[in-house]
Symmetry: C2
Subunit: 142 residues, 2 copies
DNA sequence: CGACTTGTAACTATAATGGTTACGGATGGA
DNA sequence: TCCATCCGTAACCATTATAGTTACAAGTCG
């Protein structure tokens, strides 16, 4: 449904930060792990900082740190920071025909089932934390 | 998460077909309700026909019909027809660095929570049928 | 002072999405 | 048979999202 990797990248980066505890990590180091450009990382992290999930420090010895305990950082919180106000399912790109009964009311009729589906997904994301992801990575790393 | 209206369009069209029962509906009529071009509708319905949700009939008096009972057509089935194999959350656009423990295992570590979230969403979509949507539209149309 | 790092603008490439025109082919009634 | 109708699909274009890259200003710390 999406050609978009923002959510995955965000979790990847936060997992790296969780692994290094309070030690700041540079965008260059992160970019090497994600296999992309440091600017892409800074852009992604700017959004997470706006959501108070991470903090940054410029200059020598600077970098990025988790703002809180990874045990308390759920994938739902990460999802909301990345998705912002964007709905899970997009509506019509142009408004449907208001002279057709279906066109006039379809968006209202879909609001409830769409919201329920989105809520169910987020509730499930609430069951996993960044700390859980880090443990899963460590388990596979042996 | 998606700039994509395929799912909404599909439900909209199927609701129109459910309303007209066995009477075939032309792509031109559907396009007028959706407020788009008939070719866009034909493209969308071609996918739904491949999933056996609708059937089409060319020539005079032709058009599109639901293949089954709208009471049995859940939004989950519509979602799967529209999303095909595409995952709800995209992974990295370029493979992460295999020399980093996190980069090497992050995708595997995310497989389980991502699948659970997608399943939770689909389970919720299973609770609503196209017939339900049509009733919701009728209720609002007064 | 100087090495380092973030912040951000600017530009480019690629791909997805959707809108449009055009036309071939099938259907069914007059 | 003829013809209006309607699907099937190719082709092309515009718009937008994404992300990759270079460049440079500004802040930080030893």
């Amino acid at each position: 449904m999406s050609t978009n990797s923002r959510f995955t990248i965000a979790i990847h980066v936060l997992t790296l930060l969780a692994r290094s505890r309070a030690e700041p990590v540079t965008s260059e180091y992160i970019a090497a792990s994600v296999n992309t450009n440091p600017v892409v990382i800074r852009r992604a992290l700017a959004g997470l900082r706006a959501a108070r999930l991470v903090s940054s420090q410029g200059g020598n010895g600077g970098g990025w740190r988790l703002a809180g305990d990874p045990e308390d950082l759920t994938l739902r919180a990460v999802y909301r920071a990345v998705a912002k106000d964007e709905a899970l399912f997009g509506l019509h790109s142009r408004p449907p025909n208001p002279n057709c009964p279906v066109g006039r009311h379809i968006q209202d009729a879909l609001a409830s089932p769409f919201a329920a589906a989105s809520r169910a997904m987020e509730d499930e994301l609430d069951h996993t934390t960044v700390a859980d992801v880090l443990r899963a990575v460590h388990a596979r790393a042996g």
